[in-house]
């Protein structure tokens, strides 16, 4: 007998309007693609096709065990409604559904908060993982840095630096750089070879003295920090 035990996140919902449901899942696709979606109440074939197309894993009107965070009063009433058909009036059903939707939204918000805090701790970790170096990086040296690097000296031709995090170099770079972080601050000579997140950065774009190179939503932005010519007029 082979056993495995693990926790899965479940998103429990009831469909009011097909279009609203689709719009909600379209916008929150990334958030819910790993979730098991539990649909209570009616589900049209249109929605079924949509869920299949988006490759969501879902269950329809399934009875799941009570989880640690699955005991809100509204939910219980819904559950009762689904299983026991104990509606007193249509108004009650509508009220219950409204509460349910509110709860769903709360869950989504909580989920977003969790992700945000996870990202925050990640960035704190990166800050703690900063390496500061003051030695000249001479030809033939290959540095591999896990995390961020602040280098206060030059990188000579024939040397190579690879960082998994952000990179700031205060003096001229003549060697090769591989940076997989979110930004770089560098001054390069025409000889240097810069690869930022797997993309070769053209040296012609970096002719200004100090450049900020950033990755924003799959786009690389290069901003000269000190412009070559200052127009005093």
């Amino acid at each position: 007998m082979k056993n495995r035990q693990y926790s899965v996140k479940i998103f429990e919902t009831t469909i009011e309007e097909d279009e609203k449901f689709k719009a909600f899942f379209d916008t929150n696709y990334i958030l819910f693609k790993e979730h098991l979606i539990l649909i209570n109440g009616d589900m049209s074939s249109d929605i079924e096709a949509y869920l299949k197309e988006k490759k969501f894993k879902y269950l329809h009107n399934a009875i799941l065990p009570e989880g640690r965070s699955r005991h809100t009063p509204a939910r219980k009433s819904i559950k009762k409604n689904v299983t026991g058909y104990e509606y007193t009036s249509l108004q009650d059903e509508v009220n219950a559904l409204e509460v349910e939707n509110g709860v769903n939204e709360q869950i989504a918000q909580a989920e977003i908060q969790k992700l945000k805090s996870a990202m925050k701790t990640l960035s704190n970790k990166m800050e703690n993982n900063l390496t500061v170096l003051d030695s000249i990086i001479r030809s033939g040296r290959e540095l591999k840095i896990e995390g961020d690097l602040l280098l206060l000296n030059r990188v000579n031709s024939g040397a190579m630096i690879h960082t998994t995090g952000n990179l700031i170099i205060t003096q001229v770079v003549e060697g090769a750089l591989r940076c997989d972080g979110n930004f770089m601050m560098i001054t390069v000579s025409p000889k240097a070879n810069i690869i930022f997140n797997g993309v070769i950065v053209d040296n012609d774009l970096l002719e200004n003295k100090l450049n900020r190179i950033e990755l924003k939503e799959r786009e690389i932005f290069i901003t000269p920090v000190i412009k070559k010519e200052i127009n005093w007029a």
Binding site: R138, S139, G140, R154, G158
Partner: protein, 270 residues
Amino acid sequence: MGIVIAVISGKGGVGKTTATANIGLGIALNQKKCVVVDFDIGQRNLDMILGLENRVVYDLVQVMDGEASIKQAIIKSKVSDNLHFLAASQTKDKSVLSSEKVKALVEGLQEEYEYVILDSPAGIESGFEHTIEFADTAIVVVNPEVSSIRDADRAIGILDAKSQKVKDGEEVRKFLIVNRISAEMVQKGEMLNSEDILDILNIKLLGKVPEDKGVIDASNQGKPIILDKKSMAGEAYARIAGRICGQDIAIKDIEHPHTGVFKKLTGMFK
């Protein structure tokens, strides 16, 4: 205890051996006891440049193996009594060197001489590593060209990583000689400026030596160029030797030599 100076370059053919011979003789002419040691095992060269070609009886490897004493192997220069020479082996390979043997030899020489100058082989292999291992000071010889500078940069990197002094937590002093400077080419912007080279290598400047056709003839004849009082390169080496002996000699700007009276006069008639 004498000072151990390793002359290194990384790249071959930049004038390491010529510089070693001239600096050694220059120090000797300043009345300091100096020995130059050819560490280029298998490719003996320094004896020819010093004019001591056929006088080698015992070599460095024989001294290290205990087959001969330092006193037996040392050859005295014809030019100066203060300059002594220890030749590299012609027949053996550099693999015969070992750290203990090199250490014993260098310490033995340090007791006898004020300056021990080691001529390193080109490249960065074991022969080079043994040369720099027990040196207090390194003189880096470069030509004003990118390949020479990159190789020198690599050699300095290895020096900073493998030297015994660095392992003991001290620093190896490093000085730069820019050899074969052509003032004309620097002014045209075709040759690297020594300021740029110093920026890249980030070590102290010991001297600039101009390109001089007389150097080849001097080497062929076994009379180091420093003995030729009219030669620009000879003068440059004399200044370098003086600086090593502790004299305060300003760096001569050989890259812009024509900014004197003559140039000013011609400028007036333009």
